[in-house]
C-alpha cells in the first residue's frame, strides 16, 4: 500500500496547512499597505465616494445588459436565467508572478494532452501504474467509442480552462481543470470590453496585457488542425442551442472568431462527411469548435443520448478523419478531479520535471489507504463526484450532520471509485463592488490555455468568479454570480495589437461559409416574418374593433362591432364557433391583447416571434433585437384591468412598433438570403391575412356593407379608398383595391409580385429539386390577377390554400433538405 500513497502524489500536502488558514488579501499586505501592483488602482477605488461606486456599478451592469439583452428572452422562452453580472473592479496579477503561473499552465496543458493521447491509445500509463486502471474503467466520462481513434490534427485539446485559487500563503494552486468545452472564454472578452472602457485610464497606465493575440491564435490553430482538403475550408461553432446557459457567450464567441454559430439540427452527415445545411445546399464542414457535451454529440454512438438530439454519424466522420472536432470527444475525461493527484507523478516520470503549479489537496477515494486517511478527517474536505454523476454533490463535509456523515461514509465504502475528496479551501479575497460599498470577497481565477502547433499558449488574463465569504469555492454555482476581469501588467507586450473585442469583420467576409445562411436560420427568419405579420393583423383588427366598443353604443356602432367580431372569427383569432355575448366582448378583447395563454393572442404570437428570433439571434442587428425585447413589455398585462382607452393606446403603440420593425427591415438589413426569407414569410402571411378578411366580406349578405369599413381599416387602405371613391365602400371596389391593385402595398397581388421577385433571387440552381414546381405554382397564382372577375368566398379560400402549399414547398426545398444538394 506504500505504492498507493506514492502514486497519489502528496506534493500538495505542504499546501494543505496554509490553504485552510486566513484568506490571503489580494490588495493589501499584512501591514495594511497596498501591494505594489495594486498601488494605482487601489488608490483610485479607495477614493471613489458612494455615488461614484454606485454609478460605475450601474454603468457596468448597463453595458453587460446591452451586450446580453438576449437573456430576458431566453428566460421567457424556457431558456437560461440571468446573465453573468460583472464587477467592474478587476483582479490584478503581479507581473512578477505571472511568468511562473503561465509556465505552469502551459506545462499542465502539455501534460494533460499526453495523458489523453495515452489513455485513448496504448494505455501505458495503466501498465506503468501511473494511473490506477480502475480510474479509467469506472469512469463514464471515458468514452469507449473514442478509444483507438487518431484525432484529426493530432491533438485532443485545443482550449482548456483551469480554475486557480490563491492559498493563504499567496501561492496560486489548481482547483479544477476544464478540458471538454471550457466555458467563459467569450465572457472574458465581454468583461474586458466593458472594464477597459470604464477604467480606461488605469487600463492604459498599467499597460495591461492584451488578449487579442490569443483569440487570433485560437482561430488559426483551429484552422491548422483541419483535415487536408484542396479548396477553402470551413469551420463552424457548435452550440447546444439557445436554452443552454452559455448560449449568449457561444453566440458572442462565434461572431468574434468569424465562424457560423450552428446547432446540431443544422448539421448532417452524408457519406461520412459533415455538412452544414444551407440555402444553397449542403456545405462541407472541415472543423467544429464544439460546445456540446460528449454525451449529446452523436445519438448513434451514445446510448440514450438526449432523445435524438446531436448529429447522427458525426463520430464516424471524425473517426474516419473527415472532420476535426475541438476539443475531441472524450477529452472531458481529464476534467475529473480524480486525475489530479496522479498528474505530478506522470510529469516526473514522463517529462523528467516537477509539476510547476501546485494543486489543492485532492484524493481519489478508491484506494483503501487513502480512503482511510481521508475518512478519518472528513470534516477537512469537500466531497466531489469523481466523474460528475452524483446529484447531491458537491457537499462540504464540515457541515454534515453526524447521521448524514455516516450515510456518506457508507456510500463511499460501497463504491469508493465514484468519489473525490478535495480540501475545503479558503480562497484569497479581492475588493468587490457591492452597490455603494466595496467589500473583500473570495475569488477563483479561471485561466485559459490554447494548444497551438508550437505548443501551449496561455491567455494573459482570464475570468475571476466572485464567491460568498465562507462558502467553499467547489460549491459556487457555475452559471451565476459576479465575475471580474483579470489584469496582468505587461510593459513588454505589444499594446498596438488592439484586436481586443473587434470581431474580425473583414476576415468574415473572406470566409465563404460565414456568408451563407444555414437552413435553420432561414426557416426561423421566415417565421419571424410570418409572426410579425400575424401580430400586425391581430393588432389592427383588434384596434378597429375596440373603437366600436364603448358604454353607450348606438345602433350603427352595434352593427359595426358585430361586423368586426365576424372578421375576428374569420381571421381565426378566436375559434370559429365562438359566440361572443356583448358583456364578454371587452373581456375577450383584453385577453387577446394581454393574455399569453389565450390561443392566437398578441402575447402568444409575440412569444413565437421571439422564439424564432432568438434562434436566429446572430443574424439580427442589435437594434432589431432591442425592438423585439420591447414588444413583450408593451403587451405585458397591467396590474389592474385596462380600460378601453388604455387598450387602444397599447394597440396604437404596437402598430407604430411594427411599422418601425418593417422600416428597419426595409432600410437597415442587408438584402442577403436570410432577409429574403424574412420578406417572403412576411408577404405570404400578409396575403393570407387579406384573403381571410376578403373571404369574410364575400360571405356576408351582399346588402350588408358594414364589414367593409373595418376590412379597409385593417388593411390600412381607408385613405386610398376615400380618395378614389368618395362613397360608402362597395365590395367590388374594395376587392379591386386590396386584391387586384398592384400599386397598393397591402393588396394580395402586390404580395405575390414581391414573392415572385424574391424567389427569382434565391440562391441555388434554379432548375434543381422543387424550384421549377415552386415557380410554376407561383405563376399559376399570379394568373388569377389577370382575370378581372372578382373571386367569391370559395375562390378566396382556394387561393389561401394554394399559398399554404407554396409555403410548404419552400419548407421542403430549403429547410428540410429532403432532396440532397451537395456542392
Amino acid at each position: 500500500m506504500a505504492e498507493t500513497i506514492r502514486s497519489q502524489s502528496s506534493s500538495s500536502q505542504q499546501q494543505s496547512a496554509d490553504v485552510q488558514g486566513l484568506a490571503w488579501d489580494e490588495i493589501t499586505d499584512s501591514s495594511g499597505h497596498l501591494r505594489p501592483h495594486w498601488q494605482s488602482l487601489g488608490l483610485k477605488i479607495q477614493r471613489w465616494n458612494a455615488e461614484e461606486r454606485h454609478a460605475i456599478g450601474a454603468s457596468a451592469a448597463g453595458m453587460i445588459a446591452d451586450l446580453g439583452t438576449t437573456y430576458n428572452v431566453y428566460s421567457d422562452a424556457g431558456g437560461a436565467g440571468q446573465p453573468y453580472q460583472l464587477d467592474p473592479i478587476p483582479v490584478l496579477i503581479s507581473p512578477s508572478e505571472w511568468p511562473l503561473i503561465a509556465a505552469g499552465l502551459a506545462q499542465r496543458m502539455r501534460l494533460i494532452e499526453a495523458v489523453l493521447a495515452d489513455l485513448y491509445g496504448p494505455q501505458t500509463l495503466l501498465r506503468e501504474g501511473l494511473i490506477p486502471p480502475d480510474l479509467v474503467h469506472s469512469s463514464p466520462a471515458f468514452l469507449q467509442y473514442a478509444r483507438g481513434v487518431q484525432p484529426v490534427g493530432g491533438r485532443f485539446l485545443l482550449t482548456t480552462g483551469c480554475d486557480l485559487v490563491r492559498s493563504a500563503s499567496g501561492q496560486w494552486t489548481v482547483l479544477r481543470d476544464h478540458t471538454s468545452a471550457p466555458g467563459g472564454l467569450g465572457q472574458v472578452l465581454e468583461n474586458r470590453n466593458v472594464v477597459s472602457s470604464l477604467l480606461s485610464d488605469q487600463f492604459e497606465s498599467l499597460q495591461v496585457a492584451r488578449l487579442g493575440r490569443f483569440f487570433n491564435q485560437e482561430r488559426s490553430t483551429l484552422q491548422s488542425i483541419l483535415p487536408a482538403r484542396g479548396d477553402m475550408q470551413n469551420v463552424v461553432f457548435l452550440t447546444p442551442g439557445f436554452r443552454h446557459p452559455s448560449y449568449f457567450e457561444h453566440a458572442y464567441k462565434a461572431r468574434l472568431l468569424g465562424f457560423p454559430l450552428v446547432e446540431p439540427a443544422d448539421l448532417t452527415v452524408r457519406e461520412r462527411r459533415l455538412y452544414l445545411k444551407t440555402l444553397a445546399g449542403l456545405r462541407r464542414i472541415d472543423g467544429v469548435a464544439c460546445r456540446i457535451e460528449d454525451h449529446d454529440l452523436d445519438p448513434l454512438e451514445q446510448w440514450g443520448s438526449g432523445g435524438g438530439s446531436g448529429v447522427p454519424g458525426i463520430v464516424e466522420a471524425w473517426r474516419t478523419g473527415n472532420v476535426a472536432l475541438a476539443n475531441t470527444p472524450g477529452a472531458g475525461f481529464a476534467s475529473s478531479p480524480a486525475l489530479m493527484p496522479f498528474l505530478p507523478g506522470i510529469c516526473r516520470k514522463w517529462f523528467g520535471e516537477e509539476i510547476k503549479l501546485p494543486f489543492v489537496e485532492t484524493w481519489w477515494l478508491s484506494q483503501p489507504s487513502v480512503r482511510r486517511r481521508v475518512l478519518d478527517q472528513l470534516h477537512r474536505y469537500v466531497l466531489l463526484p469523481a466523474f460528475g454523476r452524483e446529484s447531491l454533490l458537491p457537499i462540504r463535509c464540515a457541515n454534515l450532520s453526524p447521521s448524514a456523515r455516516k450515510q456518506w461514509m457508507a456510500t463511499i465504502e460501497e463504491r469508493p471509485y465514484d468519489f473525490v475528496a478535495q480540501l475545503d479551501v479558503t480562497p484569497s479575497e479581492a475588493p468587490a463592488l457591492e452597490g455603494r460599498s466595496i467589500r473583500q470577497r473570495p475569488i477563483v481565477w479561471r485561466a485559459f490555455s490554447l494548444n497551438t502547433s508550437d505548443g501551449p499558449v496561455v491567455l494573459p488574463g482570464g475570468l475571476a468568479r466572485v464567491g460568498k465569504t465562507g462558502q467553499a469555492p467547489q460549491l459556487w454555482p457555475s452559471h451565476a454570480g459576479f465575475t471580474k476581469d483579470v489584469w496582468i501588467s505587461d510593459p513588454s507586450s505589444d499594446l498596438s495589437t488592439k484586436t481586443e473585442v473587434k470581431s474580425p469583420r473583414p476576415e468574415k467576409d473572406r470566409h465563404p461559409s460565414a456568408l451563407e445562411v444555414p437552413s435553420r436560420i432561414a426557416e426561423q427568419l421566415f417565421w419571424v416574418g410570418r409572426c410579425a405579420e400575424r401580430i400586425e393583423l391581430a393588432t389592427r383588427l383588434l384596434r378597429v374593433t375596440l373603437r366600436n366598443v364603448s358604454g353607450e353604443a348606438g345602433r350603427l356602432q352595434q352593427e359595426q362591432l358585430s361586423a368586426c367580431l365576424t372578421l375576428i372569427r374569420g381571421a381565426n383569432l378566436v375559434p370559429k364557433e365562438t359566440l361572443i355575448h356583448p358583456p364578454q366582448t371587452l373581456k375577450m378583447l383584453t385577453a387577446l391583447i394581454h393574455e399569453p395563454s389565450t390561443r392566437g393572442s398578441i402575447p402568444s404570437l409575440t412569444r413565437s416571434l421571439l422564439l424564432n428570433a432568438a434562434a436566429a439571434r446572430d443574424r439580427l442587428s442589435d437594434d432589431t433585437w432591442r425592438f423585439f425585447n420591447r414588444l413583450e413589455g408593451i403587451v405585458h398585462a397591467p396590474a389592474t384591468p385596462p380600460t378601453v382607452s388604455e387598450l387602444l393606446r397599447t394597440l396604437d403603440t404596437l402598430v407604430l412598433h411594427l411599422a418601425a420593425f418593417a422600416g428597419m427591415q426595409a432600410e437597415n438589413m442587408t438584402r442577403g438570403q436570410g432577409w429574403r426569407f424574412l420578406e417572403v414569410g412576411r408577404r405570404i402571411e400578409r396575403a393570407l391575412s387579406v384573403l381571410k378578411l376578403l373571404r369574410s366580406a364575400a360571405k356576408a349578405d351582399p346588402g350588408n356593407s358594414s364589414l367593409l369599413d373595418p376590412v379597409l381599416e385593417t388593411c390600412d387602405s381607408v385613405m386610398t379608398y376615400r380618395r378614389r371613391h368618395f362613397s360608402r365602400p362597395r365590395l367590388d371596389a374594395v376587392v379591386d383595391l386590396i386584391f387586384f391593385d398592384v400599386s397598393n402595398p397591402r393588396s394580395v397581388s402586390f404580395q405575390i409580385g414581391v414573392i415572385e421577385r424574391e424567389i427569382s433571387l434565391f440562391s441555388g440552381d434554379p432548375e434543381f429539386g422543387l424550384m421549377p414546381k415552386i415557380r410554376e405554382h407561383l405563376h399559376e397564382l399570379d394568373r388569377r390577377f389577370s382575370e378581372r372577375r372578382a373571386p367569391d368566398a370559395v375562390e378566396f379560400t382556394a387561393i389561401s390554400s394554394s399559398l399554404e402549399v407554396f409555403a410548404d414547398m419552400i419548407t421542403q426545398h430549403y429547410f428540410s433538405h429532403s432532396v440532397r444538394r451537395v456542392y
Binding site: 457519406e271 446510448w303 474516419t320 429532403s818
Partner: protein, 295 residues
C-alpha cells in the same frame, strides 16, 4: 458444429424516411472456440456509404447510411460459423470467488487483470446492494467461482419467468429483479448486476442459439431470435467462461458469439437514427441452420 446464419431485420416506417444512419454489430467474432470464414451484410435500399471498424471491445462494427425517401429498410446479415465444443473446467477446481475479486484490484494493469474493466456499473447495468444480496446465497465465503456462477445461473433460471410481455428494452434491471420475469437480455443484465455488485468482472454477450426442434417436427425457420448471455472471468487459468441464465447452461457448441461489451448498449445488433419518419415497426427473424442439414 457448422452453422449458416441469417439475421433479417425489417423496419417499416409510418412516414417516409429521407436520411438514416446506422451501426450494426452482426458479424460473429473469431475466437479460439469459434471461426467465422464468411459474413455479408445485405442492405436495402442500398446504402450510400458504409464502413467497418473494430470497436474498443474488438467487435466488428459496420456503419452505413441510407439516403432518399424510403418507407422500409431491411438488413440481412448472413454468416457461416463453425463452433467448437468448449471444455469446461471442474467447477470445484476453480479459485475461490474472492480471489478473483481481489486480483482485479490492482494498481498496475497486467495481462491477468485486464478483465477488471468489466466490474463497474454501465449504462444498463447499475450496481447495488439488492443485487449483491440476491447473489449472496450462492457466493458463500470461499466457494469456487464457477460453482457459485452455476448456482446463480440455476437460481435465475428457476426463479424468473421467461415472459416477453413483462419487460421491454428500456425496463431497468431493478424492475426485473422485482418482477421476477423478463427475457434473455434482462436475465443477462440481472446476472451482470449481481456479479459486478460483488466486485466480479463479467461481460454481456450477444449472439445466437441453435434451438432444438421438438421431436418429430421440422425446424421452425425464423422462429429463433438473437440471444444474450454473460461471460465471467474465472481466473488466469480458466479465463472467461460463458453462462446462459435463460437456459441454465454453460454455452458450448450451440451458442454462437457475435459481440461482447459491458451491456446491451455496447453491442446492440442494429441501431439507427432516422430523419423524417413518425413511428416504426420492427421485425426480426433469425435462422440458425446447422449446415449439415442443408446438404
Amino acid at each position: 458444429m457448422k452453422y449458416r446464419l441469417t439475421h433479417r431485420t425489417t423496419y417499416l416506417y409510418e412516414g417516409s424516411v429521407t436520411v438514416s444512419h446506422h451501426l450494426a454489430r452482426l458479424a460473429p467474432r473469431n475466437l479460439p472456440s469459434q471461426h467465422c470464414p464468411w459474413h455479408e451484410l445485405e442492405i436495402s435500399p442500398s446504402p450510400v456509404s458504409r464502413g467497418v471498424h473494430m470497436d474498443s471491445f474488438g467487435n466488428s462494427t459496420a456503419y452505413f447510411e441510407v439516403e432518399g425517401k424510403h418507407e422500409k429498410m431491411q438488413v440481412i446479415a448472413r454468416s457461416l460459423v463453425e463452433v467448437f465444443p468448449t471444455l469446461h473446467p471442474d467447477p470445484l477446481g476453480t479459485p475461490p470467488w474472492e480471489q478473483i475479486r481481489d486480483a482485479c484490484q490492482v494498481e498496475k494493469l497486467t495481462p491477468g487483470s485486464e478483465a477488471g474493466a468489466f466490474r463497474f456499473g454501465s449504462p444498463m447495468v447499475p450496481l447495488g446492494k439488492s443485487f449483491a444480496q440476491y447473489a449472496a446465497v450462492e457466493f458463500s465465503p470461499g466457494r469456487p467461482i464457477l460453482a457459485a456462477v452455476l448456482g446463480l445461473t440455476q437460481r435465475i433460471f428457476s426463479e424468473f419467468k421467461f415472459d416477453p410481455r413483462a419487460t421491454d428494452v428500456s425496463t431497468p434491471v431493478s424492475e426485473v429483479l422485482k418482477k421476477r420475469a423478463g427475457v434473455c437480455q434482462d436475465f443477462a443484465h440481472l446476472m451482470l448486476a449481481c456479479l459486478r455488485s460483488l466486485g466480479l468482472p463479467a461481460r454481456y454477450v450477444s449472439g445466437y442459439l441453435e434451438t432444438v426442434p421438438p421431436p418429430g417436427k421440422v425446424r421452425l425457420t425464423g422462429a429463433d431470435a438473437s440471444h444474450a448471455w454473460v461471460s465471467i472471468f474465472c481466473g488466469d487459468r480458466a479465463g472467461w467462461i460463458d453462462a446462459d441464465p435463460t437456459n441454465n447452461v454453460l454455452p458450448s457448441e450451440r451458442h454462437i458469439t457475435v459481440a461482447w461489451g459491458r451491456d446491451f448498449s455496447d453491442v446492440s445488433p442494429l441501431r439507427g437514427v432516422t430523419l423524417g419518419a413518425g413511428g416504426q415497426t420492427l421485425s426480426v427473424a433469425v435462422d440458425v441452420m446447422p449446415v449439415a442439414e442443408m446438404d
